[in-house]
């Protein structure tokens, strides 16, 4: 860990931070997004309470130092990075002070690199920050129910809806819709993990007529489907998705037949990062091929290059609508939401502001 960071935190906090970093590096594929987000907030809340800082700028430096220690550059960790950015934005807002946020100057104050400290001492500032973090937790708590409650606006009777693989948000969305409407769901099984089977079992237990099809049949049946409703792992800054492997071609088939594609995701999945390279290996993560080809075909394993990518990039022009906890948005509007949620300085979490770099060089 950074020596600067070590100077500012207690030993208990240090072990807690190390534990959290370990938690992030393990169980990557099984982690539930919401659980890790809540854990992140709790860890950072403790860090804010126990670390040594006086001004908002110092606190931001501590938080960013800790982020360098976490494995946040992995593609799985976007939900954690987004929550850290929200916390940093809260710290910045509280440091600038409430008068500044309301006046016209306040807006330009957000975009300046130096944060004019207001006259609050550490304890007042800390209280304000912690109160805002409690509000953030409440927002996250209600994010799923806000999305699910919009189901009746988007599903009508006797519709056929296509979904892909497994998503807790989509499952709850559809089950909520079932309370008032009668409709059918077609689930693509999403090989090789076959998460679609789990989704189909859960939906049919909830009383929805479900059909399971192979992923290859998506083009064949999509013209007979009214809409495609999918979840995602991450929403990129331009409205593109990093979703489960196989979603891109379903979205392409939907576009071919002009079937609308609706994505339901809470805003902590919205990441201010763009696709930086069309090279699929730069964007994607490959997992083990044992689910694709048995090890009994060992002779093939050694001679054939088997790829099992985990994610898929879906460009924003294939998506019709995003349903988030703040309502429905077109992909073209997401830039506005990003500017409200995150500060431009925090888009790249490794980025230190100019004054901090100067400080570091002086010491």
């Amino acid at each position: 860990m950074d020596p600067f960071l070590l100077k500012k935190i207690t030993r208990d906090t240090k072990s807690q931070l190390e534990e959290f970093a370990l938690y992030l590096s393990e169980n990557k594929n099984e982690r539930r997004s919401y659980v890790s987000v809540v854990k992140t907030i709790n860890v950072f809340r403790d860090l804010i309470c126990t670390a040594e800082w006086v001004t908002g700028r110092e606190l931001i430096k501590i938080v960013k130092c800790y982020c360098k220690y976490l494995p946040l550059s992995q593609s799985n960790e976007t939900d954690v990075s987004n929550v850290v950015r929200r916390i940093l934005k809260i710290i910045r807002e509280e440091s600038v002070g409430p008068e500044a946020t309301n006046s016209a100057d306040g807006i330009s104050a957000f975009f300046k690199t130096d944060i004019k400290p207001c006259n609050l001492g550490r304890s007042d500032l800390q209280d304000n920050i912690l109160n805002s973090i409690v509000e953030l937790l409440a927002e996250l708590d209600t994010s799923k129910s806000n999305i699910v409650n919009m189901a009746l606006e988007h599903i009508h009777s006797n519709e056929r809806i296509l979904t892909y693989g497994h998503s807790n948000t989509i499952r709850d969305f559809l089950l909520y819709g079932r309370k008032a409407r009668d409709f059918e769901v077609i689930v693509c099984e999403s090989g090789p993990s076959l998460k679609g089977h789990k989704m189909a079992a859960e939906l049919s237990e909830g009383g929805i007529k479900t059909t399971v099809i192979a992923d290859s049949a998506a083009f064949a049946i999509i013209h007979a489907v009214n809409k495609v409703i999918i979840g995602t792992h991450t929403i990129m800054a331009d409205g593109a998705l990093r979703a489960t492997n196989g979603v891109h071609q379903v979205a392409m088939a939907a576009k071919f037949f002009s079937v609308p594609v609706i994505v339901c995701a809470p805003l902590y999945k919205l990441s201010p990062t763009h696709l930086c390279s069309y090279d699929p290996d730069a964007f994607n993560k490959v997992i083990g091929p044992e689910k694709m080809l048995n090890f009994s075909n060992a002779n093939l394993h050694s001679k054939v290059l088997i790829s099992n990518p985990d994610f898929d990039y879906v460009p924003s022009d294939l998506i019709e609508l995003f349903i988030t906890n703040t309502g429905g948005h077109a992909p073209s509007y997401l830039y506005r939401i990003i500017s409200e949620l995150y500060h431009p300085e925090d888009y790249d979490l490794d980025n230190m502001c100019v004054e901090d770099v100067e400080d570091e060089m002086a010491t």
């Binding site: 079992a201 099809i213 992923d215 290859s216 049949a217 064949a220 071609q249 790829s307 990518p309």
Partner: protein, 275 residues
């Protein structure tokens, strides 16, 4: 095809076992014409011999020699440095690739496979046995690999009169992805597979295979829908075919010519004139 009850017994039996493929229907039509052509003066044994001869001729001309002719034409299209994408297992496509390798062309193959039958594994085995470097993905990852591919070669189960290609389910998805990434899609189809039927979607005329085969996993475990027959709300649908629109196909290679998809009725008319 006339309704099932008026068909001769053997056709009825075949149709009851499994829905007949387009190529089978074409062969039965051809045989019926040959039967009608036999002059009534011939004895039974001579007539039978003639019919057997015509069946053998059909096989030789339309299947064996047609396959060789298509291979000749298609092998010209394989150049050094190519990465060719193929879908599942097709005798004709494998034959083309093995022939290209025999002519010392330097290329790689990307085998795209899909559940539930996973026949692409057999393609991999045959290609690696011949020394052709292979990669293997499931159809979900087709967009992931499409950048590196230079050509796509697909086999057809039938070519419909309105230019749609009937192939194993998933062919249409591959055609769509390939045309989005601007990769040429080459469909290889013998003329005995051309059909007078017209279809614009994949559902009206399709075959449903055994739904329980969708439950097969590689390590023999149960999936959450393994007890689907007990749940009134769950259904498994295992489609066999799908139709690819002609806009997504670049060229169809047949034994008589290399055509666009839309020339299918021309070939059908030529075949009708010949008969």
């Amino acid at each position: 095809m006339p309704p099932i009850t008026t068909r001769p017994l053997f056709c009825r039996y075949l149709a009851q076992c499994r829905m007949m493929a387009v190529s089978m229907e074409n062969f039965i039509k051809h045989t019926k014409v040959q039967v009608a052509k036999i002059s009534p003066d011939l004895t039974e044994s001579v007539a039978k011999e003639e019919l057997q001869q015509s069946c053998d001729n059909f096989f030789r001309e339309n299947i064996y020699l047609a396959g060789k002719s298509i291979t000749e034409k298609a092998v010209e299209r394989v150049v050094d440095g190519d990465t060719i994408l193929i879908y599942k297992k097709s005798q004709l496509i494998l034959h083309i690739l093995l022939e290209a390798k025999a002519r010392n062309k330097n290329f790689r193959v990307m085998v795209v496979d899909s559940r539930p039958d996973l026949s692409g594994v057999q393609s991999c085995e045959r290609l690696t046995a011949a020394g052709i470097p292979c990669s293997y993905v499931y159809i979900n990852s087709c967009t992931y690999v499409m950048k590196k591919v230079t050509k796509v070669m697909l086999a057809a189960d039938a070519l419909l009169a309105n230019g749609y290609v009937l192939g194993p389910v998933g062919t249409a998805l591959i055609g769509l992805i390939s045309s989005t990434y601007n990769k040429p899609v080459i469909v290889c189809c013998e003329t005995y597979k051309f059909s007078e039927r017209v279809q614009t979607d994949s559902i009206l005329y399709n075959e449903l295979a055994d739904p329980d085969s969708m439950l097969k996993t590689l390590n023999e475990e149960d999936t959450p829908v393994s007890n689907w027959r007990d749940c009134p709300n769950t259904r498994l649908v295992n489609l066999v075919y799908d139709t690819t629109p002609p806009a997504l196909v670049s060229i169809v290679i047949t034994e008589i010519a290399e055509l666009p998809c839309t020339s299918a009725p021309v070939v059908l008319r030529r075949g009708a004139v010949k008969m």
